[in-house]
């Protein structure tokens, strides 16, 4: 099972509603994935600054924010439940990450990017969305996932979306068989993989391909020959949104496009929540075909 929803806005007037639309879509996917949920939101960004999303102990959030404020770099912290979004100059990101790893071992870096914020937790998807206040967020595109765990344990680290590079994220429905050997290979190539989860390996695979000069579209194309298993991927970058199904196409997928947005969902039910859906072009993405939109 597992459920995926993705939304890429073409009409800027819809941007304040992105979180609300994504939350409503995700709420229809609880039965497909009741174990955990995650949301990647591409919100506002400032050139020269990066956002780091941290996962902290909820009672400890204030202390972590104070710790960062005392570091002497211009940093702005926004706390949302167990997550803390820290905006700092991009030049300070590497140093901050190293400092946090060294001095606050209980803090996990969930994502990093100019615009990406990533929230995920164990729990029923509608509860998880409420805890983070997803419905109030604005942005240009977003991806969500509801997980029914198969290949690895129900943990926050095992929840989707996965990110392994700046402003990049991936959600996955399916199961990848050659994740162990690929994980080894990616680690040797300097890609950090934290969990035993097969989907994180897929995210790492795409990150390496893009690091080595491929576009997201080319990276997805290459994955068709290198990933063994069944999968539907929805991926996000700073400016783009892509969809890929494996050649057998076991996992469900439906898409809708209007002049205002492109949407992806595991089931048509999720799309019924979108404005103007009755007049939208609705279709099932073809297997082994890369779909990609860019701003």
């Amino acid at each position: 099972m597992c459920g995926i929803a993705g939304l890429f806005l073409k009409d800027r007037n819809l941007e304040p509603d992105l979180g609300g639309m994504l939350e409503a879509m995700t709420a229809t996917l609880c039965s497909r994935g009741p174990d955990s949920a995650g949301f990647a939101i591409y919100g506002a960004g400032t050139p020269g600054f990066s956002k780091i999303t941290l996962r902290v102990d909820v009672d400890n959030a204030e202390a972590v924010a104070s710790f960062i404020a005392a570091l002497g770099i211009p940093a702005q912290c926004i706390a949302r439940d167990t997550h803390l979004v820290v905006t700092v100059p991009t030049t300070d990101v590497a140093w901050l990450r190293a400092t946090l790893t060294e001095q606050l071992p209980g803090v996990t870096v969930v994502s990093e990017g100019q615009r990406l914020e990533l929230y995920k937790e164990v729990g029923y998807p509608t509860d998880v969305a409420k805890r983070f206040g997803i419905g109030t967020m604005s942005g240009t595109h977003g991806i969500s996932h509801t997980r029914m765990a198969t290949e690895s344990a129900v943990t926050t680290d095992g929840a989707h979306p996965f990110t392994t590079g700046a402003d990049q994220c991936l959600v996955h429905n399916g199961s990848i068989s050659n994740h162990s050997s690929l994980r080894r290979e990616l680690r040797q190539d300097g890609i950090e993989i934290r969990t035993q989860n097969d989907s994180e390996v897929a995210a790492g695979y795409l990150t390496r391909a893009m690091r080595d000069g491929k576009t997201l579209g080319q990276a997805l194309e290459a994955s068709l020959s290198d990933l063994d298993g069944f999968y539907t991927f929805v991926v996000g970058t700073e400016s783009g949104f892509g969809v890929l199904r494996d050649p057998i196409a076991c996992k469900p997928a439906v898409m809708a496009e209007t002049e205002r947005y492109v949407a992806f969902a595991s089931e048509y039910k999720s799309l019924t929540r979108l404005p103007g859906i009755a007049a939208a072009r609705v279709w099932e993405p073809k297997p082994a075909t890369v779909y990609f939109w860019e701003r």
Binding site: A249, K269, V282
Partner: protein, 229 residues
């Protein structure tokens, strides 16, 4: 005409009402509104009635249908008409994968495209798709007819038994043991009947279809293959 609004009551209530119908029922026309992609709409109906579904249906719409004529004004999700026994299902839009899977009888007409595995393991159902079908369609088809106006995806009729396949467009590839066969008069007559049932009589030239069937080399035990066991 009975009206059922899925925005007000759950699909279980609808299906229970449909299952309670007796052969003498006067409720022979049903209209279902606000389906909104809900799964299992009008599953297991066993009554000689007409059902109109006004919108898009989710998974397994009309599954196991007996006798009823079901019309869906929008798209149908995975497994529309799965294991249908008799009656008819008409999809005005597209159908997702495994349309008519394991169907034993009746007629499934899809005005748009059907995706992967259309008619998988079909056992007597007739399926007419006016658009394209995806890969692995009619996989292990045992009997019944699949008619496709457009193209067929990869591995059409893989491991086919005795289902009859007719395709007017291009076939990306044939599956194991599926071969093209001569279109004879008896097949033209068969196609003509099916097209008539699908509302296309006289509009489509039956000779423009190509016929595919089983080479019968895979499912019969052959002594030359004894070493493989």
């Amino acid at each position: 005409m009975r009206l059922f609004d899925l925005a007000d009551l759950p699909v279980r209530d609808l299906n229970q009402l449909l299952h309670n119908l007796t052969p003498e029922t006067n409720d022979t026309r049903w209209r279902i509104v606000n389906p909104e992609g809900e799964h299992n709409i009008a599953v297991g109906v066993d009554a000689n009635i007409n059902i109109e579904i006004d919108g898009h249906a989710g998974y397994f719409c009309g599954g196991m249908n007996k006798l009823a004529r079901i019309s869906i004004s929008g798209n149908a999700g995975q497994g529309v008409g799965e294991n249908m026994m008799s009656g008819a299902i008409h999809v005005q839009g597209d159908a997702s994968q495994s349309a008519g899977a394991t169907g034993r009888g009746g007629l499934l007409v899809i005005e748009g495209n059907a995706s992967a595995r259309c008619g998988i393991s079909m056992k007597g159902i007739d399926i007419v798709v006016k658009g394209e079908v995806g890969h692995l369609s009619a996989f292990m088809g045992q009997s019944g007819r699949l008619v496709v106006f457009g193209d067929a995806g990869e591995a059409l009729g893989d491991s086919l038994y005795e289902a009859h396949l007719y395709v007017r467009g291009n076939v990306a590839s044939l599956g194991a043991d599926c071969v093209e066969k001569e279109l004879r008069d008896e097949h033209r007559a068969e196609l003509h009947t099916l097209l008539e049932q699908a509302g296309e009589a006289g509009k489509v030239d039956v000779s423009s279809f190509r016929r595919y069937g089983s080479a019968r080399a895979l499912y019969n035990f052959h002594v030359d293959n004894a070493g493989a066991y």
